[in-house]
C-alpha cells in the first residue's frame, strides 16, 4: 500500500508541474493531499484504476479559472481567465477605443497654424455604445470620432462630463459592442501586475499596451479622489484608457492629467470605484451630484505629508447661509468623522461623500476645544 501511494503522489506532482508549473511535494500517509499553487485544497482526491481524479470545481476555482458544465453537449469547459498579458490585451481590445477630434477654438492649445487634432483613449462599458474616457480628453474636442479596435470609425457625442473626477461619457450609435468588465477595488492589491492599454503619443499606436505593477493607492498632486499609482507607462494619448488586472478586468481609467514634470515610473489611474460612482451619476442625473457643505477644510500637518494620523479636518471657512452654518459648524471646529467613519484627509472626506447626495443628512463628529459634538448636516447641492 505504502509503496503504491508514493508512486501515485509522484504522478500528481508531475501533472501539476506540467499544467501549472508547480514544484512541490507533499505526501502524507493515509490520504492524498492536493495542492494548487502551493495552497492546500481541502478536497478529496480519488484514485481509480491507477488514475488520479481531482475535483474539477476546486482545482479550477483555485486557479482562478471558471468551469462550466454544459448538459446538452455533455461537455465541461474550463476557462482560464487569462494570466498572460497577451490574453488580457486581446480579450479587452474590442472594448478599448481610440478617440480623435478637432480642438475647439476656445481651447488654450488651439492654434491657427496647426491642424488642431487631438486624441485619447476610451473604454466601452455598454453594448449600445456608451464609452467612458477622461474629461480632459474630450472637453475641448469637437467632431469627436471613435475608432474601434477593428479600425472602423464612428461619430460620437458628448453625453456628460465631470472635471473634478476627470471623467466623461461619450456615445456612439452602434449596437452589439463588447463592454469591458469592471473589477472591484477591494480586490486590488499593491504589487499586483497590471496592463495599461491606450493610444500613446501617436494615433498609429492605437491599442498599444504597457505592463507594470500597482505601486500604491494614493493621492496625486491635486486630485479630488484617491488614485491608483502604478509603474505602467502612461503617455499623452493613453489618457482615458483602461488599467487592467490579470483577470482582464478594468480596475482604473488612466489619466495623465496628474503626472508631474520629471516624474518617472509614476502613473495615475482613476480607481474603478470612482469610475462606477461617476457613471451611475451620469446615467441617473447626466452629471455628478455632489453634496455641498459650504465649509473649507484644512488637513493636519501629518496628513499633508501622508503620515498616519488621527487628526481630523479643521474648518477654516464657513460660507454664509451654507448647510455648514445652518448645522452650527464654526471656524476652528475639527471634523473627525462622517456618520461615524473617520476622516483625516480631504481625500478621505471626498471619498466618503460619494455615498451621499445633495439633500442627504449626515451626523458629523466634531471636536470643539475639549468637547466632542455630534452635529446633523443636511447637504446642499455643489454647483
Amino acid at each position: 500500500m505504502k509503496k503504491k501511494r508514493m508512486y501515485i503522489s509522484f504522478i500528481i506532482i508531475i501533472v501539476l508541474i506540467f499544467c501549472f508549473g508547480i514544484s512541490t511535494s507533499a505526501v502524507s500517509t493515509g490520504y492524498v493531499n492536493l495542492f494548487v499553487n502551493n495552497k492546500q485544497v481541502d478536497d478529496e482526491v480519488r484514485i481509480i484504476d491507477g488514475k488520479v481524479f481531482v475535483p474539477l470545481e476546486s482545482v479550477s476555482r483555485s486557479l482562478g479559472a471558471d468551469y462550466e458544465w454544459d448538459k446538452e453537449s455533455n461537455s465541461v469547459y474550463i476557462t482560464d481567465d487569462g494570466s498572460s498579458s497577451a490574453d488580457i490585451i486581446s480579450k479587452l481590445s474590442p472594448s478599448v477605443v481610440g478617440i480623435i477630434g478637432k480642438l475647439k477654438q476656445s481651447s488654450a492649445n488651439y492654434s491657427t497654424y496647426s491642424d488642431n487634432l487631438t486624441f485619447g483613449t476610451g473604454v466601452i462599458y455598454s453594448e449600445n455604445g456608451f464609452i467612458i474616457t477622461n474629461a480632459h480628453v474630450v472637453s475641448d474636442m469637437e467632431d469627436i470620432v471613435v475608432v474601434l479596435s477593428n479600425g472602423k470609425a464612428y461619430k460620437a457625442r458628448l453625453k456628460a462630463i465631470d472635471d473634478k473626477s476627470d471623467l466623461a461619457m461619450i456615445k456612439i450609435d452602434k449596437g452589439g459592442l463588447v463592454p469591458a468588465k469592471f473589477g472591484d477595488m477591494s480586490d486590488v492589491v499593491v504589487g499586483e501586475p497590471v496592463v495599461a492599454i491606450g493610444t500613446p503619443l501617436s494615433f498609429s499606436l492605437r491599442n498599444s499596451a504597457t505592463k507594470g505593477i500597482i505601486s500604491g493607492i494614493n493621492r496625486p498632486i491635486d486630485g479630488e479622489y484617491r488614485f491608483i499609482q502604478s509603474d505602467a507607462a502612461i503617455n499623452g494619448g493613453n489618457s482615458g484608457g483602461p488599467l487592467v488586472n490579470m483577470k482582464g478586468e478594468v480596475i482604473g481609467i488612466n489619466s495623465v492629467k496628474y503626472i508631474g514634470f520629471g516624474v518617472e515610473g509614476l502613473s495615475f489611474s482613476i480607481p474603478v470605484d470612482t469610475v462606477k460612482y461617476v457613471i451611475s451619476h451620469f446615467e441617473k442625473y447626466g452629471e455628478v451630484r455632489r453634496p455641498y457643505l459650504g465649509a473649507s477644510f484644512m488637513e493636519g500637518v501629518a496628513a499633508r505629508y501622508g503620515l498616519p494620523s488621527t487628526e481630523g479636518l479643521t474648518i477654516t471657512e464657513v460660507k454664509e447661509d451654507s448647510p455648514a452654518e445652518k448645522a452650527g459648524l464654526a471656524i476652528d471646529d475639527v471634523v473627525k468623522a462622517v456618520d461615524d467613519v473617520n476622516v483625516t484627509t480631504i481625500i478621505d472626506y471626498n471619498e466618503e461623500m460619494k455615498k451621499y447626495l445633495p439633500g442627504d443628512t449626515v451626523e458629523l463628529t466634531v471636536e470643539r476645544g475639549e468637547t466632542e459634538l455630534k452635529l446633523k448636516v443636511t447637504y446642499g447641492e455643489d454647483k
Binding site: 478637432k102 481651447s107 479600425g151 470609425a153 449596437g175 463588447v178
Partner: protein, 661 residues
C-alpha cells in the same frame, strides 16, 4: 508664418497615413456592421443569431409590438426615460419622444401620429414596429409562412470619409461660391486654413510639396494698371523675398498680372492677380521643393493648376468642393481673448459682411477689435469694465460729454443720442456726423451692457454709403452676442488692463501737474490725465491724451560740436518720419520764445489709408546744455478750442530746468 505651417506638415502626414491605414490597423476582433434581428410573436427574439432573454414580441389588434429597449439598444440607440410616462430614443441624429399610451410622438421637434401607442406590458415598454422602421434606416421583412419578422440594419454608420478631421478635399476642384472662384486641386490635397469669412483659403498637398493660397480682397478702387505701377515702384511691398519676374497679361473681360518670386524660405512662388466685380483675387502656388519659379511655371503639372483658376463658380457645380463659410450673406466672426485659464474666452461674436476683415490696429488694447473694408468703413468693438451700479444711461451721457468736449464743432454734428430697448435690454445709442479729411462720415455707436462689461460697438461709414448699407449694418448689430462663458474672468482681465492704463497716467490727480525729466533737464506743466508712454531712454519721451488723441513728444540732445554742425533735420530722429508721403510740410517760422531762438515747423498729416488727418507743430531750440525738439500733434477732428488751448499751455510751460533744482 509659413515656417510654422511647414513644421506641422510632418505631423499631418503622420495623421493622414494613420487615417488611411485605419482599416487594416487592428483585426483581432471584428464587429458585425450589419444588425439582423429575428423575431416571432409570442416566441422570442434573436439578435445576429444570438437569442436574447426579453419580453416576447406580441401582436395586439393587428399591430406588432416589440420590446423598445432590447430592439433599439441592439441597433446602438440610446433609450432613456425623461418623465414618468415619457421616453426618448436618440439615434443617428434623430430623436423620438414617446409617451406611454399616446399616439402622439415628437420626432426631432415635429409632432407625428402613430397608428398605435406605446404600451407597458409585464414591466416592459413595447412599441409598434413602425417606431423602429418609420424613422431610421431599418428595414423589416415578414415571412408570411413562418410569421417570422426580420429587422435589418445594413449600415452601422461607420465613417468612410474622415476628411473633416484633416480637411481633405474629396473632389477635383475647390472653390468659393460667395467670391466666385474655383481651382483644380491635385488628389490628396487638404484645406489647411480658411479665414472666418473665407476670403483667404490655404490648400496643402504634402505628396507634391505644394501650397495653393487664394486671397480675395476688396479692390479699394485699384485696378490692373494701378497695381502694375505700384509693383514697378515698390516691388518690395509685395513679397517677403524677391520678385524674379512680373508680367501684365491683358485680355478681353479682364487680364491678370503674373508674378514669379522666391519667398523668404527660398521657395518658388507663381502668383496671379485678377480684378473682377470690385474684388482683387490672388492665387499663389508655392513649391517647397523648388526654388526656381520659372521652372515651376514651365512645369505643365503646376502651370495647369494655375491656369485652372477661374472666376465663374456660383456654387451650382457638383464637382467643386465649396469652401465658402458665408451664411445668409454674413460671415460669423468670433473674438477669442487669451486668458490664464485652460481655455480661451469667447469675448463676443458677431456676423459681419464677408468682404470685411479684421484690421490691424495700432492701439495696444487687446479688447479693441476693428473689422472692416478700410479705416473709412468698419465696425469696431471695444470691451470696457464698468461698476455694477453704472447704468447704460450714465455711460451714454458720459460718452456724449467726451464727444462734445473733444470734437471740433466745425467737423462734428450730433444726430441722435438715445436709449433703445432691444429684447429686454437697454442699449445706448449715439449717432453723429463727422468730417475727416474733407469727407463726411457717420459714426454710429451702440453701447451694450452685459454684467459688468460694456461693449462699445462703433460703425464708421462714409455718409452716402451709410444710408445704402444701413440695413446690413443693423443686421450685424442684431447678430452681436456678448460673452457667455467665463464672463467673470473676462471682467477681471479688462479691469486689470484698465488699471495698467491708469498707472501710466502722469499723475493720479486730473489737475495740472509739473512733469520733470531731470536726466535731460526739462520740465512742463501737464494735466494729470495724460498718459506717459514707455520709451527706451530719457532722451525721447512721449505723452498722449487718450480722449482727444493729442500727442506730445520731446527729444533732447546733449550739445556737442557735431550736434551744432548739423541741421535740425539731421539731428533729431523725428524729422526722419517727416519724409513720409503722408506728411506735408507747411511752413517754417523763426520765433523768439522763452528767451531762445525757436525754429517752428508746421506740418499736416494726411494719411488716407489710416484715415488720419492731423496738425503738427515742431519746435526746436538750443538751451545751455541740451538742444530740444518738441512736437505736438492733434487730429483735426479733435482740434477743439479747449484742446488747442491745452496743447498751447503745455508748450508755454515747457522749458529747460537745471538738474539740481
Amino acid at each position: 508664418m509659413r515656417k510654422t505651417i511647414k513644421t506641422f506638415i510632418s505631423f499631418v502626414i503622420c495623421i493622414a497615413f494613420v487615417l488611411a491605414s485605419i482599416i487594416s490597423a487592428y483585426a483581432s476582433y471584428d464587429y458585425d456592421s450589419k444588425v439582423e434581428i429575428k423575431l416571432e410573436p409570442e416566441k422570442g427574439i434573436s439578435i445576429n443569431g444570438r437569442s436574447v432573454n426579453t419580453e416576447n414580441p406580441v401582436i395586439i389588434n393587428g399591430t406588432l409590438y416589440l420590446p423598445l429597449r432590447t430592439i433599439f439598444e441592439a441597433f446602438g440607440a440610446e433609450v432613456s426615460w425623461t418623465g414618468e410616462n415619457e421616453i426618448v430614443i436618440i439615434y443617428r441624429g434623430t430623436s423620438i419622444n414617446l409617451t406611454l399610451n399616446s399616439n402622439i410622438c415628437v420626432v426631432n421637434q415635429a409632432e407625428k401620429t402613430l397608428s398605435a401607442p406605446p404600451i407597458m406590458r409585464n414591466g416592459t415598454t413595447m412599441v409598434p414596429v413602425e417606431v423602429v422602421t418609420g424613422y431610421y434606416d431599418i428595414t423589416s421583412e415578414t415571412d408570411s409562412s413562418t410569421g417570422e419578422t426580420s429587422l435589418i440594419l445594413e449600415d452601422d454608420g461607420a465613417l468612410t470619409d474622415l476628411s473633416f478631421l484633416t480637411g481633405g478635399i474629396g473632389k477635383q476642384k475647390a472653390g468659393n461660391s460667395y467670391f466666385g472662384w474655383c481651382v483644380n486641386v491635385p488628389g490628396g490635397s487638404r484645406v489647411s486654413q480658411v479665414s472666418f469669412n473665407s476670403k483667404t483659403v490655404q490648400i496643402e498637398n504634402e505628396h507634391r510639396g505644394i501650397n495653393i493660397t487664394v486671397d480675395v480682397d476688396v479692390d479699394n478702387g485699384e485696378d490692373l494698371a494701378g497695381l502694375n505701377d505700384k509693383l514697378d515702384k515698390n516691388p518690395e511691398n509685395y513679397t517677403d523675398g524677391e520678385i524674379i519676374n512680373k508680367s501684365l497679361h491683358n485680355a478681353v473681360g479682364g487680364g491678370y498680372i503674373e508674378i514669379l518670386s522666391v519667398n523668404m524660405y527660398e521657395e518658388a512662388v507663381v502668383q496671379r492677380v485678377f480684378f473682377k466685380n470690385g474684388f482683387k483675387y490672388s492665387i499663389a502656388l508655392t513649391s517647397y521643393n523648388e526654388s526656381n519659379p520659372k521652372r515651376l511655371k514651365d512645369d505643365k503639372y503646376y502651370s495647369g493648376i494655375i491656369d485652372s483658376f477661374v472666376l465663374n463658380y456660383d456654387g451650382s457645380s457638383k464637382d467643386v468642393q465649396d469652401l465658402s463659410k458665408i451664411m445668409f450673406g454674413l460671415a460669423k466672426y468670433e473674438n477669442y481673448v487669451t486668458s490664464n485659464t485652460e481655455s480661451n474666452i469667447l469675448a463676443w461674436d458677431m456676423s459681419v459682411l464677408p468682404e470685411w476683415s479684421e484690421m490691424y490696429s495700432s492701439s495696444y488694447n487687446p479688447y479693441l477689435t476693428e473689422i472692416g473694408a478700410s479705416k473709412k468703413e468698419y465696425i469696431s468693438v471695444e470691451i470696457n469694465r464698468v461698476n455694477a451700479d453704472e447704468s447704460i444711461e450714465d455711460y451714454c451721457k458720459n460718452m456724449l460729454e467726451i464727444y462734445n468736449k473733444n470734437f471740433n464743432s466745425k467737423y462734428y454734428r450730433l444726430i441722435e443720442s438715445k436709449i433703445e430697448n432691444n429684447e429686454n435690454r437697454n442699449d445706448g445709442k449715439l449717432i453723429c456726423e463727422v468730417e475727416i479729411g474733407g469727407k463726411k462720415y457717420i459714426i454710429d455707436e451702440t453701447f451694450i451692457k452685459a454684467g459688468n462689461l460694456i461693449y462699445d460697438i462703433t460703425i464708421k461709414s462714409p455718409e452716402d454709403k451709410y444710408e445704402q448699407q444701413k440695413t446690413n449694418y443693423y443686421k450685424m448689430l442684431e447678430s452681436f452676442e456678448p460673452v457667455q462663458k467665463g464672463a467673470d474672468i473676462l471682467e477681471d482681465q479688462v479691469e486689470r488692463f484698465a488699471e495698467a492704463q491708469e498707472n501710466s497716467r502722469v499723475s493720479e490727480e486730473d489737475g495740472i501737474t509739473e512733469y520733470k525729466n531731470p536726466a535731460c533737464e526739462w520740465s512742463f506743466n501737464i494735466p494729470g490725465y495724460w498718459i506717459k508712454n514707455t520709451t527706451y531712454d530719457n532722451t525721447y519721451q512721449s505723452f498722449t491724451n487718450n480722449e482727444s488723441g493729442a500727442i506730445i513728444m520731446v527729444e533732447a540732445l546733449e550739445k556737442s560740436e557735431i550736434v551744432d554742425s548739423l541741421s535740425d533735420e539731421e539731428n533729431f530722429r523725428f524729422f526722419s518720419y517727416m519724409t513720409s508721403e503722408n506728411v506735408k510740410f507747411i511752413f517754417k517760422e523763426n520765433l523768439n520764445e522763452k528767451g531762445h531762438a525757436v525754429r517752428k515747423y508746421t506740418y499736416t498729416i494726411e494719411n488716407s489709408d489710416e484715415d488720419i488727418y492731423a496738425d503738427m507743430q515742431v519746435y526746436v531750440f538750443d538751451a545751455d546744455k541740451y538742444s530740444y525738439c518738441y512736437i505736438s500733434m492733434i487730429p483735426q477732428l479733435c482740434a477743439s478750442e479747449e484742446n488747442l488751448k491745452e496743447l498751447q499751455d503745455i508748450w508755454d510751460s515747457f522749458g529747460p530746468v537745471p538738474a539740481d533744482s
